[in-house]
Homo-oligomer: 558 residues x 2
Amino acid sequence: MKKKKENSNASGLKIIPLGGLEQIGMNITAFQYEDSIIVVDCGLSFPADDMLGIDLVIPDVTYLKDNIDKVKGFVITHGHEDHIGALPYVLRDINVPIYATRLTMGIIENKLTEHNLMKKTKRKVVKFGQSINLGDFRVEFIKTNHSIVDAAALAIYSPAGIVVHTGDFKVDYTPVYGDAIDLQRFAEIGKKGVLALMCDSTNAERPGFTPSEKTVGKTFDTLFEEHKNTRIFVATFASNVDRVQQIINTAYKFGRKVAVEGRSMVNILDTAIKLECINIPENTLVDLDQMKNYPDEQQVIITTGSQGESMAALSRMANNMHRKITIGAGDTVIFSSNPIPGNEKSVTKIINELLRKGADVIFQDAHVSGHACQEEIKLIYTLIHPKYAVPVHGEYKHLKAQAKIAESLGISKDNIFILSSGDVLEVSEEQAKVAGRVPVGAILVDGLGVGDVGNVVLRDRQHLAEDGIMIVVMSLDRASGELVAGPDIVSRGFVYVKESDELIEEARRTVDDALQACLDKGITDWGKLKTTTKDVLGDYVWKKTKRRPMILPIIMEV
Amino acid sequence: MKKKKENSNASGLKIIPLGGLEQIGMNITAFQYEDSIIVVDCGLSFPADDMLGIDLVIPDVTYLKDNIDKVKGFVITHGHEDHIGALPYVLRDINVPIYATRLTMGIIENKLTEHNLMKKTKRKVVKFGQSINLGDFRVEFIKTNHSIVDAAALAIYSPAGIVVHTGDFKVDYTPVYGDAIDLQRFAEIGKKGVLALMCDSTNAERPGFTPSEKTVGKTFDTLFEEHKNTRIFVATFASNVDRVQQIINTAYKFGRKVAVEGRSMVNILDTAIKLECINIPENTLVDLDQMKNYPDEQQVIITTGSQGESMAALSRMANNMHRKITIGAGDTVIFSSNPIPGNEKSVTKIINELLRKGADVIFQDAHVSGHACQEEIKLIYTLIHPKYAVPVHGEYKHLKAQAKIAESLGISKDNIFILSSGDVLEVSEEQAKVAGRVPVGAILVDGLGVGDVGNVVLRDRQHLAEDGIMIVVMSLDRASGELVAGPDIVSRGFVYVKESDELIEEARRTVDDALQACLDKGITDWGKLKTTTKDVLGDYVWKKTKRRPMILPIIMEV
């Protein structure tokens, strides 16, 4: 206790979110006490609508690079992409050990294998209740419930005090696999005195309690009973092993065989089987190829694609583009998922497609959330009884909603911090304040390129997407400075040339006249010729079409 | 009755949807009896996500053009874009009279004025209960309720029988303006015997009854009471005149002045005032410029932008980009709207932005739908008691949901028709069947161009958006066929050149080598040189970056 007091006066604990607060996903938070840094999670996020052509987005970890000697390790809460997805990219620069529970590590190892990083990366599987020492920190893994098995909350012990980070969680008193969230341990730690609680805000706008995952199992029983004579497809999230377990349980009850389709689904199921996180009755799981040996009413196909992703298995099976299976009249398709915000339209599209094919589609009531609603959040706050509240995981409106909950529980407004990525929150018994900023940002990954697509490229893509491009090529004679070929205009994404020969030809003449006028006046400066081309052609095209294609003059010297 | 029998044997009535069934919006349906055609509605739809750069989408009316001598007029149900928006475009080819109720016509006339079509277009305002004769048809306008004033259902009397088309509707027993839906007239017509009912399916998946628009007024009273000391902004749909009326009523009750912001909002309000569809207490409506003369607690600003549109007034006021007003701490913003499917993310974005600015944001409970839920649909079916059911207005899943309702009310499956755009449904007392197809399609409008952006251009835009473009220019000597300049590579939207000089230079050398090899072999055919360039550069770039930019070789001859 004495040491704690002294140290907190000296420097205190720094909580530094490096991502996750300006967007859904990309969760990564550094905790620093003097010369020790630990990093909780290392997630990716998916590109926003205006990030054209981008595959995924990872956090800028410049701060960790600059302090690489202090970084002790990654401590991972659970195996979802928004918590582990950036690891293969970040590990290239920040090669420190990874600590995670069993299934979480299994999924991480799939990624490391894919990126050829297994040998280079130290890993340690941690059990619930177990602690690891990392420099000045001790981190304890606490059992929680979530939409993936083996999710953990973290109690982070530092000389300045304890921080509890819930990760993504819900309270499930009757989980499908393993134990309920370890509320007793939350209470014990709360009794010790907790400096700060960083709690999942995803469902903080929703009143009440999220139902148990087990309720979905009952729904499956009912739905299978109602559709006894049809082939059944269930679309769900690949990582929701408990959901898959329940589908298999119900299938077994009704004497059906189960096949699993979609690469990510197969991968995670393999890992779950290997790690014994799922319990499959003998002779229930069959290969998709063998399904043809069974009548429709003995088949269940669990598939990816519940978000309407056009390349996922469900979409391909609905559009006759799957090499083995086509969904059609008489089939039943259960969506065991909700659309993630932004995916509503693509989910509706595939539902319409399936209905049009004659399938029976069930897209309500076969899903529960994996995140805590308001009453669960209140429960955790009450058990932990923190001095400071730092809502995490969610958009600003969700963080704000949790802040309101914290306030309603008696935490003073001054002790609630809605942080931005890059904020340095210094916390001690005496006070907490945002005491600085570190560099943060989103790095775009496109194909093999990490960070080589910046704002200029994105703006160009947006411009190209909007109205296409007009390229004006011309050749100037090196000696005389005269135009010896061109200007010629080539367009793409503007108008289809055959439909608009006249427009293009008149545009060409307009540019030609303007260029000749320049050259006649003795203007041969390439910059001026290009500017003239852009201005004249831009004006002409806007007047004629009210469009602004990108205009790209190219001068060759011969 | 005799005539009817004879005629229905001869040819029957044709119902031909020319749009509106494959997408939300673009509602337009032709009704043909021998040499008479009438067209119900003429709407636009908004571009799908993959229609890059497209402003709006209008129906292909080739069938009407081919039968222009038979077309008697447009009969419009109400003044929403998805029912009137294509008129200014379609009228250029199909210049026939327009029939609509008062406010509907007022909004149409705004459009015609904008497109300079007022003088050329015959128009007739029709009252509820009134009928118009159009060739072999008589069309009666029946009062309904919807989220816009003056919405009408149509009873279409033909020698083959009666078709009732509800338009978009709900049942509101206590409407804000004017009368409740004329259920008595629906019943009377039902008694006569109705051949087919074409009923709004938008909310056919929702059980129960849509609440009265008046309930929103009560919500406003409560919210204004709770936020007595702040400036209040209300964002809603420009066309919902009743909603604006209720906001004004509540503002007046609380001694507040009202200003209206956003071009479409101002336009429709002006029209509604002119046509006396709205009742504004004296000295309540003030100019936005004058608002500064009143304290915050006496201000209400009604604004567009409830869908998070980045250029609308709300967004500009939230982002300090509005020239007169900035929303900030202490302001209250009420969203009196629900996100239209596909807009969820942009709505959430602006909510987060407003919260971050310190505004209090209310985005639930201050809206009701304008469409009938299941019990209302059942009511209309029961009053009309049609022989055939033709669900309209909605995506496939909504049409299917209404079909299920119709079945549950005893209409045989064989008498329910879920049509596709272009289907020709022949209906008579004896039978109904899809007896043919007419050409239909979606015509893309981009700037001034109508239909000049086709699939090739869209595919190019998608390609450009995904990975950008690499342009390879070179000059060949006319006489010798030798390369006298280039190949040079210019890229846009691929990688920012300064970050990737080496990559581009190596790519250039690779192309150069390949071209020289061709030329050395005596290959000077431009097609072959271009193909070689595309292949070699494409392979190189894919290998190095896993991207596939558009590659455009341009050869100049000098």
